[in-house]
Amino acid sequence: MSTLLQELHGELRRLYIAGSDLAADDFRLKKLEPKLGALGERAPVFKRIAEGTAALVDSAEPFERAARLQDVSTLLNSVLATQGRTAAEGTVQDIRTDLAIPSYGLPDLTTDHSSRELGEVRQALSSSGSGRYEVVLSAYERGLFDDLRMLPMAVHALGDSYSEIADLAVNKIVPGYGTAIAAYLLKDLDIQGGREHERRLQVVKQVGVNPDDRVSLNKLILAAEEGGAKIVPAAVACLGTDPECEQRLLDWSHDAKKTVRESAYFALSVLDSEAARDRLYEALTGKDAGIASEAIQFSISQTLAESLVKLYEEKLQDRAEKKVNSIKDLHPLLTALGKVRHPLLERLYMELSQDLSAYPVLQRLDKRESGWIIGAAADYFVRSNTIEALEPIERMAKASPTLLVHYAVPLARRVLSPAEVYERYSGSESGKTRMSGDLLFMVFRQALYNRVGVNDPRRPQAEIEADWDPRWLDWAIDHDRLSVVAGLARLGNDRLLPYLKQAIRNHASPTIENDRYTVLEAVRNVPFDGETRFELLMQLLESRDWNRPPTTAYGEFAIVGEVSRVPVPQIGEAVRRIEAIMAGIERTDYKRRLQDTAEKLRTRQAAAQAESGK
């Protein structure tokens, strides 16, 4: 019965598409009529349907036919709505107890975020336009992606057209769901897919595949064997967790495509079987050394590392054969061992720091190249984060002093107190390790200012005061380093103000134009009293030689701007002094700028007076 009605519905739908004008004497409807008539005997409503259909086919007037079609359809739809099938097909007959839902074993995801919270992110991920990245990032930081309903959106974000969002999804959001997400990502993987599916595999590579999950592993093998150009290497890289893939991986490591070999090396380093290690050792000493070392640097096993350290030591000590003549021969080893922590490597670097001359290779390489090896050793010690590690670095610094700037001081600042850092490096009587003024200058340039471009803003005052011993300020004054003095400036040093005042008048200094800006930064950030701040600011303005041709010193804009914001009671004095400067200027552009500033100040003064008058 219901199949007949469903068939009728199909025919009526056809007429809706083709137009009821074509319904006259429609033979397919006519064919249904006898059956409908028979059905009509069973219930009045069916009878009405049968009659309606007959009227539709037989009516002569086109508009009436349309009306008939509408009427019989309305009636039929009502009847069909009461006959909808609801039972799930396949389980109606017998409900087997094992029809459980395959669970991915995801962490218990919440659903207690509100529509508005999630709606914003959903909107950001399903549209295009600016400002979306910030929304997604902030959602990630607030943990919104721990919500069950966000998971499909997170996976969807892997294919986002804005690559920064996609990268965020690959590196942070999706791996955040843990290993369980791998099965979910692989289930719908399109092995001929594009960038989104490649990114899925990149996530799988990060989170790893459960070695017992054959379904996922087989999908990966399929993708690696038959996938598209981008999919194959991405899939190969994920197969390291499957011991059964050993032979396949070894074969792929000989593939003609570089990207496939690279992925195979990574997977082999995860697999870490004996054959895998042998193959990697072979690759690292052969033509593929470069790409193999890049591929395995984050996943290298201790066992493989051990054999590589031995090889490394051998090469460094290569005295007789003189095979190692360029850093190129050592570069793959440096890369492969770059993240390794191993007792053998520690011993090697310790011995190296004690006597660099014992390693003939270091003598044969030029200074820049040997610097890489020494740098690698220093880096190893820095990563140990202990006080003990300072000594070997300082020893090596005798040969290349910049190690102190880049490795020793940053490490010391992490493991020692500010006072201890001062005592160690300032060159005071008790200090063991002296640093030259120039080296310390490099240290401070990096530590006191955030690098942003032409004028680097000073780090926050509280941070500077907490991080640096106050005695450094005296040191900087003694060494006449204006930018360091300004950077370290803090209250409580009597020599500071006289020095600053004198230094900013010193036109002879070659860096004075830039240093003026650093002094301005100090004036802005150090909590001087109002009088001092005003005086310093005015002197900064006055000390500039306004008749000199323009330079690229943007600091001057900032100084003029700052002056126009001086507190109301000091406006009178500021205007008087600006006018005094103007009297001596010939250049009209500068004159005008100062004139503007004076105007601005007067306006503010007038406004303030009006306010107080009220």
Binding site: R13, I17, A18, L80, A81, I101
Partner: protein, 479 residues
């Protein structure tokens, strides 16, 4: 003592940005003054802005169901970020100094009280009603005549579309339909206007095959509407005194927006009701040119699932409060019920939130229909009326949720009956696939809130799961 939770304050906010800005004010310490009245029912304070003088804002809880926010900032949103910030500051436990009630607030309170009094007196009959509602009979007759005429025209355009066939529909047809829809709107048939525009949208759809199926269904719906509407309007034309039909949805189809007073007059008010929201979603209705915020609420102690609907016209989105998911129980003194089927629309003016307790969870499970065939019967009974809501929502009890060999999800009841689960066309997003992501223990002995839809092309009545409830765990698959 006033008790405020952050989530309650969130629910008062007009939109997510206001929440963020309000919190920002507290974090940035922008409040220069924080006061609470001696009775503890008024928060007031001053908040510094970019200008010289501070904004003076207050939130009045004298009527707990309907806190009133006031502020002298120029924002058109209520509550503004300053009032929200004031409440967040209170919820965060910042110190509020006790102070006397400001004069302007107390005078405003007096005025409001007076208004209430007069209103109460009018209702009790102590005072004559404000203005006896006069029905301008000639105007009404004219309006009905215009509506009838518009119905005739609608019938004409529908029939000519049926004659020509959907297959011949092109951009021109779509434009004509939209133009015609506009005319319907100006002839007081806004309900028909929306449905005709919906038809036009279906014809524009990329997936033409499914578009045809739904367009054909939409045409029959318009047919049913024309017939019923005409009969109803003709009856009204003969007797203009006839009160609006408060039992069926025909008034709404014709474009009538029920006033709360009308509903009250028709006796469609329940008193002291507790509602618990089980699902919520917001979608863009292009046909209505409005955002629609829909909530499904269980009336505690009963088994009815009500629906709240808020329409936010695209043009007014900035100034209207966006409704949101609500996780507490809403205690409502007067619940206005619209005419409708299984999930008739409800409205309430104010409510007091309270935490969900064990008894409430028990109530959910008690309200769930134990037998699939019984629930389906009720659903089908509604669906056979072409003008009834096409997507009824029912709370069902599930012994478990399982999957068939071909991957289809199914709900299985105590007696072993199955119900196929799948995504319905009328919801903006898919939820069924999420079932494989929830904690599997949730899928046994649970209650499921599901939306039904009859799919004409397959002849299936499919249910889409919206929310799973097990014990005290609620997993909202929608929002």
């Amino acid at each position: 003592m006033l008790e405020l939770t952050a989530s309650y304050i969130d629910s008062l906010a007009p939109n997510a940005a206001a929440v963020k800005n309000g919190r920002g004010l507290v974090q940035k310490n922008k409040f220069v003054k924080l006061n609470v009245s001696e009775e503890g029912d008024l928060l007031f304070g001053e908040c510094s802005g970019s200008g010289k003088s501070n904004y003076i804002c207050s939130v009045d809880f004298v009527n707990k169901e309907n806190p009133v926010s006031r502020c002298n900032c120029p924002s058109r949103q209520f509550p503004c970020k300053h009032a929200l910030g004031l409440m967040y500051a209170y919820a965060d436990g910042l110190t509020f100094e006790q102070a006397a009630l400001p004069e302007d607030i107390s005078s405003k309170r007096d005025k409001a009280e007076k208004r209430e009094e007069t209103k109460a007196k009018r209702e009790s009959g102590d005072l004559p009603p404000a203005k006896p509602k006069k029905v301008n009979k000639t105007a009404l007759k004219k309006k009905i005549a215009q509506q009838l005429e518009a119905l005739d025209e609608l019938e004409k355009i529908v029939l000519s579309l049926v004659r020509g066939g959907l297959g011949t529909a092109n951009a021109r047809t779509v434009k004509d339909l939209n133009d015609h829809a506009k005319r319907l709107g100006s002839s007081y048939l806004t309900g028909a206007e929306n449905e005709l525009r919906r038809l036009a949208l279906l014809l524009e759809q990329d997936d033409r095959e499914s578009g045809y199926t739904y367009a054909a269904e939409q045409l029959t719906l318009l047919n049913a509407f024309i017939k019923k509407g005409r009969a109803y309007l003709q009856a009204k034309q003969e007797d203009p005194e006839l009160a609006p039909d408060s039992e069926s949805t025909i008034e709404e189809w014709l474009g009538h927006a029920w006033q709360l007073a009308e509903l009250k007059e028709a006796g469609r008010v329940s008193e002291n009701v507790e509602l618990l929201q089980l699902a919520f979603y917001t979608y863009r209705d292009e046909a209505r040119k409005e955002f629609v915020d829909t909530g499904f609420w269980l009336q505690l102690g009963e088994s009815t699932v009500h629906r709240t609907v808020q329409y936010r016209p695209f043009k007014a989105v900035k100034y209207m409060k966006e409704e949101d998911s609500f996780f507490s129980v809403a205690q409502i003194s007067e619940l206005y019920r619209y005419p409708g089927g299984l999930n008739a629309r409800v409205r309430f003016e104010g409510m007091i939130p309270r935490q969900v307790n064990d008894a409430d969870y028990g109530g959910i499970h008690a309200a769930a229909a134990a037998s699939i065939p019984d629930a389906v019967k009720e659903v089908k009974n509604q669906l056979k009326d072409p003008l009834a809501d096409r997507a009824p929502v029912v709370l069902l009890k599930a012994a478990r949720i399982a999957q068939t060999e071909n991957g289809t999800f199914a709900l299985v009841d105590e007696a072993g009956n199955t119900l196929e689960l799948g995504d319905v066309y009328r919801l903006p997003q898919s939820t069924t696939t999420l079932l494989s992501l929830v904690d599997p223990s949730l899928l046994e002995n649970c209650a499921v809130l599901a939306m039904f839809e009859h799919q004409m092309d397959t002849g299936k009545l499919v249910a889409q799961p919206l929310t799973l409830i097990q014990g005290e765990r609620i997993a909202r698959l929608l929002y």
